[in-house]
C-alpha cells in the first residue's frame, strides 16, 4: 500500500432511489485515510444512504467503492470490507440482537474466526475500554438508551475496524452519556466519519466537516466563523435552527 493510497475511496458514485428517476447522490468523489470527519446535512439528503452504499448494503447505480485501492465488486469483496469498517446504526435496537451484552460483543469476532475463548477475552477488554466493566451478563433489552448506544459501539470496536461510520451517535443521549461518548471517540485510534446534526458534538470529535449539497459530498470551508443572532430568550438552552 503506497502512502498516498487512501483507506477508503469513492469514485464517481451515483445513487437513485429504487423507482425514482432523480438521483439522490450524483458523482460523489471522496477519500479518507486516517482523518476524523463529520458529515452534516438536512434530513433526507442521503447521509445514511451513503453509509449503506459504502458498506455494500445498497448498490450504487454508478461508480465505485475502493478499499485500500481495491475496487469492491461482488458480495465477497464487501464481506471483506465489512470486517474492516464498522457501521454504528441510528437505532441501537436494530443493532443489538443477542440476549446478553457479551454475546453481542463477541458475535463479530466469532464470525471472523476467533475461538470462543479469544472472543470472550477480546469482548471483555473492549467493554472495559468503553467503561462498561461488569456489563457482560446484562440483558441487552434492559439497558437504557445511552447504555445500548455504548454497547452497540462495543460490538463494532471488538472487530478492530480501521474506520468507523457512525450514524447520529449522539442522538437521544442524555448530556452525561454524550460527554462520555465524546471522550471515548477522542481516545480511539481509528479514523471515523460521523453523521450528526449536533455541531458541537462534531466540533469536539472531528477535524473536518463535509456536507451533502446538490447531491454532492462537499468539504466545508474550515473554521468559518459563523454567528446567529436572534431574538429569543434562554439562548443558553440547546437549540437548533431550521434551514
Amino acid at each position: 500500500m503506497t502512502s498516498d493510497q487512501p483507506l477508503l475511496e469513492l469514485r464517481n458514485l451515483s445513487y437513485s432511489l429504487p423507482g425514482k428517476n432523480s438521483r439522490l447522490l450524483d458523482t460523489v468523489n471522496f477519500r479518507i485515510s486516517n482523518e476524523r470527519i463529520g458529515l452534516i446535512g438536512p434530513n433526507g439528503c442521503g447521509k445514511t444512504t451513503l453509509f449503506q452504499i459504502i458498506m455494500g448494503l445498497l448498490k450504487a447505480s454508478e461508480g465505485e467503492v475502493l478499499l485500500e485501492g481495491k475496487t469492491m465488486t461482488g458480495e465477497k469483496d464487501f464481506r471483506m470490507l465489512r470486517s474492516k469498517l464498522g457501521f454504528l446504526f441510528q437505532d441501537s435496537d436494530d443493532q443489538l440482537f443477542s440476549p446478553t451484552v457479551l454475546e453481542d460483543v463477541a458475535f463479530g469476532p466469532l464470525n471472523h474466526g476467533a475461538t470462543p475463548d479469544e472472543a470472550r477475552t477480546l469482548s471483555i477488554r473492549t467493554l472495559e475500554q468503553l467503561g462498561l466493566n461488569g456489563f457482560e451478563d446484562r440483558i441487552t433489552h434492559r439497558l437504557s438508551g445511552g447504555e445500548k448506544k455504548l454497547v452497540a459501539l462495543a460490538t463494532i470496536l471488538s472487530m478492530r475496524p480501521k474506520l468507523l461510520l457512525l450514524d447520529e451517535p449522539s442522538n437521544n443521549l442524555d448530556p452525561a452519556t454524550r460527554e462520555r461518548l465524546i471522550n471515548i471517540l477522542r481516545g480511539l485510534d481509528q479514523a471515523h466519519i460521523i453523521i450528526s446534526h449536533d455541531l458541537d458534538f462534531l466540533a469536539s470529535t472531528c477535524t473536518r466537516l463535509y456536507t451533502i449539497q446538490d447531491r454532492q459530498l462537499i468539504r466545508c470551508k474550515q473554521k468559518q466563523v459563523h454567528s446567529h443572532e436572534h431574538i429569543h430568550p434562554y439562548g443558553d438552552q440547546p437549540h437548533q435552527h431550521g434551514t
Binding site: R82, D91, L110, N111, P116, R120, I139, M159
Partner: protein, 254 residues
C-alpha cells in the same frame, strides 16, 4: 409488562447451572405428570412447594401466577363432576355429581400445581437467555435455540411498539367493545406491528451481515457445571426416583 420477576435473586436455586435445573425440572415434571395416585401427587406437591419456598419468590406474584395456571383446572372442576359419569354419585339438590369426576379433578389440581411450583423454583429462577443456552448445551437443535434467543430479545421491542400504537388509538377515543370497529382496529394495530417487525427483521439481518454473519451461528462457551451443580442434580434425580418408586408401589398395591 413482560418481565422475569423471579430470575433475580441469590438463593441456591438461582446459583445453579441452568442445564442441571432443566434436567431436574424435566425429571420431576415427568414423574408428577404421569403419576396416578393421590399419595404421590401430594408428596410431590409438598416437595416442590418446599423447593419453591427455598427459592424465596415474591409470594404476591406467585399467587397471581397460580390463578393464571389454574384457569384450565377451574374449567375441569366446572365440567368433570357433572359430566364424568361413573357409578358413585353425590346428589346436590338437582345435580348429580360424579365421585370419580371429583376425584380426578382433585388429582389433576394437585399435579398441575405441584409441577407449577417445580417450574417456578427451577426454571423461573434463570433468565430466558441462560435457559436458551442451557438447552443448546443439552443438545437441542442450534437453530431452534437461536430462534428462542432472538425471539426473546425482540419480544420487548415488539411489545413496546404494539403498546405505543394502542396508546395512540386510545388517545383518539378508542374504547374496546363488541363491535366490528373494535376487531378491525385491533387487527390494524397488530397488522402494523407485524409490518414493523418485518421491516425490523430486515435491518437486524443487515446488522448481522455487517458483523460477518455468513449463515453459521457460533455459540460462546459456557463454564461447565461445578461440583455443587452435580450434587444438586443428584438430589433432583433422587427426588424423581423416589416419587417414581412410590408411584410404582401404589400402582402395584391397588
Amino acid at each position: 409488562m413482560i418481565d422475569e420477576p423471579f430470575a433475580s435473586g441469590s438463593t441456591l436455586f438461582h446459583k445453579r447451572d441452568t442445564r442441571v435445573k432443566l434436567v431436574g425440572a424435566a425429571a420431576i415434571s415427568l414423574v408428577l405428570a404421569l403419576c396416578s395416585s393421590f399419595l404421590v401427587a401430594v408428596t410431590g406437591c409438598i416437595i416442590t412447594a418446599m423447593m419453591l419456598i427455598l427459592s424465596k419468590p415474591d409470594l404476591k406474584l406467585v399467587s397471581k401466577r397460580i390463578i393464571g395456571v389454574n384457569i384450565f383446572t377451574f374449567f375441569i372442576w366446572l365440567t368433570l363432576p357433572l359430566t364424568y359419569g361413573g357409578s358413585e354419585t353425590l346428589t346436590f339438590s338437582m345435580f348429580n355429581l360424579s365421585m370419580d369426576g371429583i376425584r380426578l379433578a382433585a388429582l389433576i389440581t394437585v399435579k398441575t400445581n405441584g409441577i407449577f411450583f417445580c417450574i417456578l423454583a427451577l426454571l423461573a429462577t434463570s433468565t430466558t437467555a441462560s435457559l436458551g443456552h442451557g438447552l443448546e448445551k443439552l443438545g437441542f437443535p442450534k437453530k431452534l435455540c437461536f430462534l428462542l434467543l432472538f425471539s426473546y430479545r425482540q419480544l420487548f421491542v415488539i411489545n413496546q411498539e404494539y403498546h405505543r400504537l394502542l396508546r395512540a388509538a386510545k388517545l383518539r377515543g378508542f374504547s374496546p367493545a363488541n363491535t366490528m370497529h373494535t376487531y378491525r382496529t385491533y387487527s390494524h394495530l397488530f397488522g402494523m406491528t407485524l409490518v414493523k417487525s418485518w421491516n425490523r427483521a430486515e435491518r437486524v439481518h443487515q446488522a448481522m451481515l455487517l458483523r460477518g454473519f455468513n449463515g453459521r451461528l457460533i455459540p460462546l462457551n459456557q463454564s461447565p457445571p461445578g461440583k455443587a451443580d452435580y450434587f444438586f442434580l443428584i438430589i433432583m434425580l433422587l427426588i424423581s426416583l423416589f416419587l417414581a418408586g412410590l408411584s410404582l408401589f401404589c400402582y402395584n398395591s391397588l
